[in-house]
Structure formats: C-alpha cells, structure tokens
Amino acid sequence: MTKEYLSIEEVERLALNSKIALTDTELVQMQAEFAVLDARLDRLNALGLDDVKPTYFGNDVKSVLREDKPQQNQTREELFRNVPEQDATDYIIVPAMIEDEEAGA
C-alpha cells in the first residue's frame, strides 16, 4: 500500500532534520518526489521479500583492526589547513552552543 502524501509541514521537518532549508516552491516539488519514492517501494514489495536477506555491503570483507602502533599521519598544521574559522591557538571557532538566558544567545 502506498502511504498518503507527506504534508508540506512533514517535508519541511524532514528537510530541517537534514539541516537544509527549502523554499516554498522546492517544498512542493519535493512533496511529489516522495510519492515517486513510495511507488518504488510498492514495486519492490510486490516481489514478496519476506524471506529474502538484505545486502548492505559491497562485498563480504570483514573489517579487522590493524596493529596498534604509532605512525606519523598528517601534521597539526595540515589538519587545520581547511578550517573555516580558527583562533591563534589552533582552536576551531564555533558559535556558542549553550544559550545564556540573561544575555541572550
């Protein structure tokens, strides 16, 4: 069974959950896309999948831990090369995460 269309509010909530703001026009366009996705699900489910095992990985390689020994990778300088905002002591600058009730954000 195809689910009912997601409401515009639900689409907006999904977008904001993924930290994306959509315009009103984009929200309407996206709403139709979910119906397409649901139709895909219906077609797949029609195959009768109850007894089928899912494949989640590209191959069957089992991850193993490598030997725990120190090695030189990137330097601190290299790792900071792409930081958008930093201070002189190599801290990444981000906005305050806890709001101060009296002073505001």
């Binding site: 997601l6 689409v11 999904l14 977008a15 904001l16 959950n17 993924s18 930290k19 994306i20 703001a21 959509l22 984009e26 996206m30 896309e33 979910f34 996705l37 649901d38 895909r40 699900l41 077609r43 797949l44 489910n45 195959l47 999948l49 089928v52 095992k53 899912p54 494949t55 989640y56 990985f57 590209g58 191959n59 390689v61 991850s63 490598r66 990778n73 990137q74 290299e78 790792l79 090369r81 792409n82 930081v83 958008p84 905002e85 990444i92 981000v94 906005p95 305050a96 995460m97 709001e99 954000a105």
Partner: protein, 483 residues
C-alpha cells in the same frame, strides 16, 4: 596539440626511444587544454606546478620499456583527493578544499610516474548523469556540443575523448564511468568492488562506489587498472588479492568462451533499433572468434532502477552529512547560532540536486526504513541472479546505453534503460567494461562486457577481440565532425 591520435602505448614508445620528453608532452597538454580545448570545460583545476616537477623527474630518470604510465599526461576526477591541488567534488561546499593527503590511487599513479595534469569536472559529489549539476558548469561533449558528455565522470570523458590527456580516472557508483565512456567513444572500466582502494575517493554511495580508468583502447584500460589495483589497509572493504597483470594474456582470444545475452533486455523498449543492430553485430564477432553465445536470464534486472534509486539516496545522505561548515569546507558568512550555521552553510553550499537527494535520503533512513530494507533485499536478488547466470556463462554482453548521448538539460536522473544497464553491476559488486560499440546518428554508443567478481582478465580479453574486429577507437571526435 590534441592527443586524439596517440595512445599510452604509442607515447610510451616515444618516451623510451627519447623521441619526446615528459616535459614536452606536459607542455603540449597544457597548451591544448588552455587553448583550443578550453571550450570543453573538462577541468576544474590544473595541477601545473606539481605536474611539471613530476615530468622533470621522469625525464631525469628516463623511461624504461614497460613503465607504461611514466611521463604520460592524465587527469584525476575531482572527487578523488590530491595533496598538491584542491579537490572540489565540483561543489561550492569544497571550492577551496585542499586535502592533507593523496588518495591511494593517486599514490599508486604517482609511484608509476604518472603526470597528473589536472582535476576533471563532474556532477556535484558525483550526483548526476551529465555534469550539469557541477558548480563549475557542464563539460562539453567533443563529439557534439548539443548532446551531453554524460556523467558523473563527464570531465574525464571530455578530457580523454578530445585528446587533452591520454587517460583519466573516474568513479562509478551507478554507471558514472561507463555511461560517459559510451557517449564519447571511450573504454571505461568499473572494477570489482574492493579491487581498487576507495581511500581518498570522496564517498557518494559507499557500498557501490568504485574507482576506475577511462581510456581510448582496451589495452590502455588494462594498464591503468593494474596500476590502480592494490590492497589497502586504509579501506576496510579492500580485497587482499594478488596483483594481476591484465596485459600479459590480453590477446589470448575467446575460443570456447561462453557469452550470455540477457533475455529480459532483448527487445526492451528503451533500446534503440540501431543499438540492437550493434548488439547483433557484436554477437557475430564473438561467435566468429570462437565464443558460444547463449541466452541467460536476470529475472530482477528491471528492478535495478528502483533498488538503486533508494540505496543511492539512503547512503548518499550519510555521505553528505559531514559537510557542516565546522572543520572544513564552506561556512556561511552570517549566522547567530549553531543551528543557523548548519542550515545556512548546507543550504548555500550544496546545489539543488545534492539537496534533493539529502532530503529524500533523510526520509529513507528515518522511521521504519521500509524503503531501505526492501531495496537491500532486492539487491540480494539481483546479486543472486548474476551468480546463477555465471554458472552458465563466463561473460555477459549488454548495451551500455539504450542509444547515443541525450540532449542537454534532461535532468539529473538517467533514463530508465541506462540505469538498468548500468546499476545492476554496481549492486552486484562485479566488474564491467564499456567499449565503443559503434555510431548512431554519427554519435558514439557503447556496449559492455560484464564479468564475475575479480573476472577482469576475461572481460579485457573479450573486449579486446571486439575492439580488434571493429577498431572504432580509430574514429575520433575531430574526424566525425565534432569540434
């Protein structure tokens, strides 16, 4: 000057015989790329300084016979990270990103003496089929500027097909090497999942992503693939298998080889009648060379599109979640709090197609995950279909695309038939090689040979027989009225 009439092997010979130097080849490449070939928009960034150093080093050392890639100009798709030059994934999000390390495939190429001329254009984060979603504009098909060059490795296709470089790396998650190869008369290989390290390839759909070569001929593709392939502890899906020399037996022929034709694709409405003729001709060529061609069944192949679309969005959202404006990449200029920083950074930094896939992927991976689970189950069925087929045949032959390249501006999703022909192979984790199949309305269209996991050698041998009989690579865009 364009390298359209040269191959890695012809230039290798000239380098060995000291008829030309690596620096001269680089200069020729750069002059053409920045001059006449600039209109193809194949490159996002050139790598002139590091390339020159490498070429000078090659000339100082000299090139020995068999060091095929040493001194040869090439391009890296710009979603594969390089230390010497920025890596953008053709996104505003990574416009100024400079990787602190090289991808494993880049390390392997540099060790082989490759001269990396630049980073080639792609659809943003490899999400698209025409390079039209690139932040840096679409690349142009050298065969005809009104049709798409294909994607997402379209910049690589344009760069090789126009003769700007001899070969290029692409990534193939659901046809992104093979479809642009088909649209530009090139050979493109999607290797067995795990054969080539993904370390340093910016993830798009992690369980499907592969890195592979795009070249003009089959032998060149074999040379590049055997250089790329290596076991890599930094990629947890890397296969620990013995390094192969695909060139050694590439002319072994196909006497007694069993080749399968997929019943479900014969007469498919998306396949043009001219492509059916190309297929009939291919069957005849293989039979004449001693192969036995028989019909096989892949009962769930037509479900590849639905399966792929769901897994693509589901895993894709996870790949793009890391771009938050904190540690690297684009950060919005004006924000009052952390939430605003995240939302504005991602809304401004991603293009429309990436945003579309993120929102769809969030839906797929939240709640009961019914879509994702169903798609993962049908992936099993598709994979099992291929395994069963390979009990009867050694290689499977299909068209690579339903017809030639489509007109520009068709949107970021492939036509259904092109998805069916391409994505099933990624879902099954097996290798396939796209080779020039001929011409439809004067535009190239490819066919593909599909092999069992780690069956690269056989598909190279089969493709070589077909190439020897057809020699379509000898027709260049220039000769065919292209630009």
């Amino acid at each position: 000057m364009s390298f359209q009439n040269e191959t890695i092997l012809t230039l290798h010979k000239k380098l060995v015989n000291k008829e030309v130097t690596a620096v001269e080849l680089l200069d020729e490449a750069l002059a053409y790329i920045q001059g006449e070939a600039a209109k193809f928009n194949s490159f996002v960034t050139l790598n002139e300084e590091a390339a020159r150093k490498q070429a000078e080093l090659v000339d100082a050392e000299g090139v020995q016979e068999g060091e095929y890639l040493k001194g040869i100009p090439m391009a890296i798709k710009d979603n594969i990270v390089t230390k010497d030059v920025r890596t953008t994934a053709s996104s505003k999000m990574l416009e100024n990103y400079e990787s602190p390390f090289d991808a494993t495939v880049v390390e392997n190429l540099i060790a082989a003496g490759a001269v990396i001329v630049g980073k080639s254009n792609l659809d943003e984060f490899a999400m698209g089929v025409s390079t039209e979603t690139s932040y840096f504009g679409a690349s142009v098909n050298p065969w005809n500027s009104e049709v798409s060059v294909g994607g997402s490795s379209g910049g690589s296709a344009a760069a090789v097909s126009s003769g700007e470089v001899l070969y290029a790396l692409g990534t193939d998650t659901g046809g992104s090497i093979r479809q642009p190869a088909s649209f530009t008369n090139l050979v493109g290989v999607k290797p067995t999942y795990g054969l080539v390290s993904r370390f340093g390839a910016i993830s798009s759909v992690s369980s499907l992503d592969t890195v592979g070569p795009m070249t003009k001929t089959v032998e060149e593709a074999a040379i590049v693939l055997q250089t790329l392939a290596s076991y890599d502890q930094r990629d947890m899906t890397s296969l620990n298998v013995k390094k192969q020399n695909y060139l050694e037996n590439i002319n072994a022929g196909i006497q007694g080889l069993k080749v399968g034709i997929v019943k479900e694709l014969v007469g498919h409405k998306g396949i043009a009648s001219e492509m059916e003729e190309i297929m009939e001709n291919a069957v005849k060529i293989l039979q004449d060379a001693g192969a036995e061609v028989k019909e096989i069944s892949l009962p769930h192949i037509n479900y590849s599109t639905d399966t792929y679309a769901i897994l693509n969005r589901g895993e894709g959202v996870s790949s793009l979640q890391r771009y938050d404006g904190i540690r690297y990449g684009y950060r919005t200029e004006n924000y009052n709090n952390l939430e605003e920083l995240y939302v504005k950074t991602r809304t401004e930094g991603f293009g429309d197609e990436a945003k579309r896939r993120i929102v769809l992927g969030t839906y797929i991976t939240s709640g009961d995950k019914a879509h994702y689970t169903a798609a993962a189950k049908v992936r099993t069925l598709i994979k099992d279909d291929f395994s069963k087929a390979f009990e009867d045949v050694d290689v499977i032959l299909t068209p690579m695309t339903g017809t030639h390249a489509f007109k520009l501006s068709k949107g970021a999703d492939a036509s259904e038939i092109d998805d069916i022909l391409a994505t099933g192979i990624n879902l099954a984790g097996i290798p396939a090689i796209a080779v020039p199949g001929g011409f439809i309305n004067d535009l190239p269209a490819g066919i593909q040979f599909i092999g069992q996991a780690l069956g690269e050698e056989k598909i190279f041998q089969t493709a070589k027989v077909y190439e020897n009989a057809t020699k379509y690579y000898e027709t260049t865009a220039e000769m065919n009225g292209g630009q």
